[in-house]
Amino acid sequence: MSAVQTPSPAQDDTRRRSPLAEVLFSLMRSRTFLVGLFIVLFWVACALFGEHFAPYDPLADDIINALAPPSREHWFGTDQIGRDVFSRVIVGSRDILTVAPLATLLATVAGTALGLLTGYFRGIVDDVVSRILEAFMAIPVVIVALLAIVALGTSKATVIVVIGLSFAPIIARTVRSAVLAERELDYVAAAQLRHESAFHTMFVEILPNVIPPILVETTVRLGYAIFAVATLSFMGFGIQPPSPDWGLSISSNYGMIGGGFWWTVLFDALAIASLVIGVNLAADGVHGALND
């Protein structure tokens, strides 16, 4: 009776793609995602190879040509000590594109761990941790940043830690709600009936199934992180002069808008805006692809 039936795996003529391939396939067909990706990749290229195609050395001053308006030589004009704005905008993407993703990564890792803990254990663990996270979310990032900088001094690491930790509770909240739903599924009960440790159940059984919402939340947070980094450097916490940086550059030049020297501020602001929009478009595409 052994040869009675050997069923084969789903035998329809279309080979089903793996879930990952399916998501990639639908991402590649999403115009929103592709436009966002293009913008982001443009800035990533600038960050990596900017000095090779920037027309001038972004640090070289040229007092004689200070505050020159946009022209054939200087497409975006020059700032008050004559540095080429175009070159500074291109190279200025470097810091923001290291600090913001690292901060988001930190937020994702910490938030995911907290979300798994609160969602899996529920009860008292959830109550205590969730209240603390909520209290944390109530404090504005800027205040936290101020305190941290007083305590730790100004550095990129401080900015990463401050932004990472202030975003972690938001990601934790998303992960928690996904875990709460996942926890009710029978495969979790089946793991308990194998006496699996809580760690195994959380990270090996549940985590892979909550990756999609985490991915969406991460891309959305990245947009906010870019904005937060720019804000902090505008306020002077973070990247220090003379490194070219968009936020910093706006903060040191915005006083001159009144004098008609708009080009010293506008192009940096547009750069920030375009990067945030690019990331958000990409995030939108990811969200769409994962929620089909």
Partner: protein
């Protein structure tokens, strides 16, 4: 071929005519045929049943009739005529009117068909307002409709929201809405599939009664052959989008002429068949995927009678009409169809079981939940024994505590203090964490829904490998070897190991779940409705597998199911639960053949049977009462058709032993029950 008669009389002869209808779904840039040249006529006032396994196109027929296909679906050929009107030619407004006036649909899940945030009354009157009747007149009509579907106290129901009604009531309301405009065509798509047997019986009775009162023709779609056999005049069997057999219901089911129908009927445990009397037959292979090119007979790959002619030449619909009525079969060898050899040999090595000490002993088990400050007694004072190699069937309506009881045994939910669970003579800790590894692996479960039970991120190899590692303590070479055995024992192959659960069909997934439960050589496996999500042919294969594994491994089962035929096939012993209490406990054959508890009697009577010899039907009124506020005395007295008097309301009867090993919780003495129930069976004859 059916002769497609020209239509244009004043009142069309047929309420619905599908001629050469083909429908395709566009998937991944290709049109895939779902319905293939379907010809089907439903006469005025006729109830037509459409049966077949999931994926054969039943629901697509329903959607196509009202041109309600999903966006990727399209009608690629043929014609639909509803009451003589060509549906294909209707423009937007005319189509909307046709849908509103001449055809209605009732879907499987009434909870989703009703708007959760609008009161019942408003949802009903809205229909009349579309027809120009407003205000008091509309609400009078609505109340009349609710009366018609036998809802008591319609004015109060009109004030309620859908979630305040039980599933059966919701389905009645959905039927009332469908009938509101007096349609000429009523399409019922699995209308009772999600309901309890007792509620299902009520809804089916209602539909049968309404048929007497209304002129509507009915298209009744169901995977449940017994339901269709009781409800319909004619039946069509659909396979891979093609009609393979059609004829009067009783003729088709008693004298099928297509191997697929023959095989489908053989998959069902019938007439009290039991596991030691033989295995169920199965249908090997799979339904062809949608859009597959089919050269010959669609069923040829799975048919033991098929020869070269079947594989190359599409059989026409042979006309087999005789004095019993017009019937068709799409089989070259329709005269031999019933000689279809079995796909699964029936013989079983019946091993007489030596009497042994019980493997499981439960005494005084209780579980109380707190529900809004009130105690909710989900399981009350349950005591029973289970011997090695024995199956205990748990039956009862939903809400009777079957699943909670199973979870208490497994330790997934801790019971109240006081009760004891003993496994092989040793007491089990109430909580899973406090049980020993040996105790945990000795009791495993096969869940109802394999999609929820198998981690969708893990490969089958990972799922089973992990179970072997944790439950059998294996690793390395030994694990690989055992994995091979395990996979083979549930009749999967190595090819299945690399894939993820979503790439397997429902039946294959359930095999993986069974393999996982058996990884650590368990003493007891709890099966919580393991086949309820599966087609009958797959169900038969899973039941056979469970029976085979049991006779090989001497494992005990606790088998939960709402399908009494299935429970009867597999169980040695039955416990009937009602509101968390055991109402009856005894050997399977005695519980089924009776005399039994009035509740058991009602449950059995509610099951639609294929070989229906019209017996007296016992119908339970209303719903199972709330467990937070159970009735006084005997908890069943509020619905009991055999209530004897005030004693039932005042005193809870004990679970008394009526016969050795057979206990019943009822005030009526056993000989009296025997007399009453014997009378009930003979009465209408």
């Amino acid at each position: 071929m059916t002769n497609s008669a020209p239509t244009k009389p004043a009142k069309a002869e047929n309420a619905l005519e599908l001629s050469d209808l083909s429908v395709a779904y566009r998937v991944a840039g290709r049109n895939r045929a779902v319905l293939r040249n379907l010809n089907l006529n439903i006469r005025q006032g006729e109830a037509y049943g459409l049966v077949g396994e999931s994926g054969c196109g039943k629901s697509t027929v329903a959607l196509t009739v009202v041109r309600y296909l999903p966006r990727n679906g399209s009608i690629t050929g043929g014609a639909i005529s509803l009451d003589g009107q060509d549906v294909m030619k209707l423009d937007g407004e005319a189509l909307r009117r046709a849908r509103a006036e001449s055809v209605s649909m009732v879907y499987q899940d009434p909870g989703k068909a009703l708007n959760p945030s609008i009161r019942i009354g408003r949802q009903l009157t809205e229909i009349f307002e579309l027809g120009g009747i407003t205000g008091q007149a509309a609400s009078d009509r609505a109340i009349a409709m609710l009366n018609r579907v036998r809802i008591s106290d319609p004015p109060s129901v009109m004030q309620r929201y859908p979630h305040q009604l039980s599933g059966g009531m919701q389905q009645r309301v959905a039927i009332a809405m469908a009938l509101a405009n007096d349609p000429s065509m009523l399409i019922l798509d699995e209308p009772t599939t999600g309901l309890d047997a007792t509620v299902e019986a009520e809804v089916l009775d209602l539909i049968a009664q309404l048929r007497q009162e209304l002129s509507a023709s009915i298209l009744f779609i169901s995977h449940n052959l017994a339901v269709v056999s009781n409800m319909c005049d004619r039946v069509g069997v659909l396979y891979a989008g093609m009609l393979v057999e059609e004829g009067p219901t009783d003729v088709v089911f008693n004298d099928p002429r297509h191997p697929y129908t023959v095989a489908l009927l053989r998959c069902l445990p019938r007439g009290g068949q039991r596991k030691d009397q033989g295995r169920l037959d199965t249908i090997p292979g799979f339904l062809p995927g949608i859009g597959m090119d089919i050269k010959g007979c669609a069923f040829a790959d799975r048919c033991a009678l098929a020869d070269d002619r079947c594989r190359t030449e599409l059989p026409p619909l042979y006309d087999l009409s005789d004095e019993r009525g017009k019937r068709l079969s799409r089989c070259h060898y329709h005269d031999k169809a019933q000689a279809l050899p079995r796909a699964t040999p029936s013989d079983v090595a019946a091993a007489p079981k030596p009497a042994a000490a019980p493997v499981l002993r439960v005494a005084g088990l209780n579980k109380t939940y707190a529900s809004h400050g009130h105690p909710l007694r989900a399981v009350k004072d349950v005591s029973l024994d289970l011997s090695p190699g024995e199956t205990l069937g748990l039956v009862g309506e939903s809400g009777s505590g079957k699943t909670t009881f199973a979870r208490l045994l497994l330790g997934l939910v801790p019971p109240d203090a006081g009760g004891t669970i003993e496994l092989e003579g040793k007491a089990l800790a109430p909580k899973l964490e406090n049980r020993g590894d040996d105790q945990v692996k000795a009791m495993q479960i096969v869940f109802q829904n394999p999609d929820s039970a198998l981690n969708r991120s893990h490969s089958i190899r990972h799922i089973l490998g992990r179970a072997l590692k944790r439950l059998a303590g294996l690793s390395g070479k030994a694990l690989e070897a055992r994995l091979d055995d395990l996979v083979r024992s549930v009749r999967l192959t190595d090819r299945h190991l690399a894939v993820k659960p979503r790439q397997l069909s429902g039946g294959l997934k359930q095999r993986v779940a069974i393999a996982r439960a058996f990884a650590g050589d368990p003493r007891i496996v709890v099966c919580d409705e393991p086949t309820s999500a599966l087609d009958v042919s797959v169900q038969a294969a899973i039941l056979n597998l469970l029976a085979d594994l049991q006779s090989k491994e001497d494992v005990s089962y606790i088998f939960i199911s709402h399908d009494l035929g299935v429970v009867r096939y597999l169980s040695d012993k039955i416990a009937v639960l009602y509101l968390g209490r055991i109402m009856e406990l005894g050997p399977s054959e005695e519980v089924f053949s009776g005399p039994h508890h009035p509740y058991t009697e009602a449950l059995l009577s509610a099951v639609p049977k294929l070989d229906q010899t019209e017996t007296a039907r016992i119908r339970l009124d209303g719903e199972i009462p709330s467990a937070t506020n159970p009735p006084t005395g005997c908890v069943f007295h509020t619905r009991c058709p055999r209530k004897i008097g005030p004693i039932c309301e005042q005193q809870e009867p004990p679970l008394a032993e009526a016969q050795p090993g057979h206990s019943i919780r009822c005030h009526i003495p056993y000989p009296e029950l025997a007399r009453l129930q014997k009378a009930a069976v003979t009465e209408p004859a």
